[in-house]
Symmetry: C2
Subunit: 142 residues, 2 copies
């Protein structure tokens, strides 16, 4: 029992470190593309035609923040706003340019991932563990 808690504590510490690395990698990738971390996270979180409130949910922030983030991404031509059947709801969609930038950022994040130091077998194991963690909390499978 003590062991289990120790493991949980160690993992939390290691996960904190991995998270810090990922956060810095995200900031770096953002800077390289003349964006901010939040804008990159928004770009990576967008599906086709997501209501702004959904994006707020995915980003874990208040809906009022999404207005500004969307404004800036829209001003750069990376996303556009569309009106749905319910005219209160605005749907966000990536433009072709937005998809291009999103893919660039994705590739950059893959390249700089701390998982790069693992062997192929270890990478597969990690992938399965991450998938299990994600699935247990409602993340759509990759």
């Amino acid at each position: 029992m003590a062991k289990r808690n120790d493991d949980a504590h160690d993992i939390a510490g290691l996960l904190f470190w991995v998270t810090e690395q990922a956060r810095m990698g995200c900031e770096r990738a953002a800077e390289e593309n003349d964006m901010t971390g939040a804008q990159v996270r928004a770009l990576l979180s967008l599906d086709d035609l997501s209501p702004m409130s959904s994006l707020a949910g995915h980003m874990g922030c208040d809906a009022s923040n999404v207005t500004g983030i969307a404004d800036r991404l829209e001003a750069r031509g990376l996303i556009r706003r569309e009106t749905g059947a319910d005219r209160r709801i605005k749907l966000l969609a990536l433009t072709p340019e937005g998809k291009k930038v999103r893919d660039q950022v994705r590739n950059r994040l893959s390249e700089t991932s701390p998982a790069g130091s693992l062997s192929d077998a270890e990478r597969r194991t990690l992938k399965e563990l991450l998938r299990k963690m994600a699935e247990s909390e409602g993340q759509p499978a990759v």
Copy 2:
């Protein structure tokens, strides 16, 4: 080779999700303790008597930001500034209250870690993989 790249891409996506969860968990823990995410990250990154520039390095931000973050943590009695032998350098140290809050936050992060859904054996495997990822990039072993 294609497989390796696919894995890397999948892992990057899953890692992004895990990172988002961790980021939100950090913000939640911060809010519960009346702090901000950056303040929590600083608290968790502090060793005994870290120069302010070291903290900036750990947090991946400019040194000028550390002044404000340290100001606010110091105002709440969670850290204190000390002057070292080289009197240009200011060393940051956690106060007893700061250590208490740091431990509270740590425990909270352990509780809400997405690794909670794994079995004991899976958790051990994850721990080893994370340790390997961390060690390969100069993170002191836990």
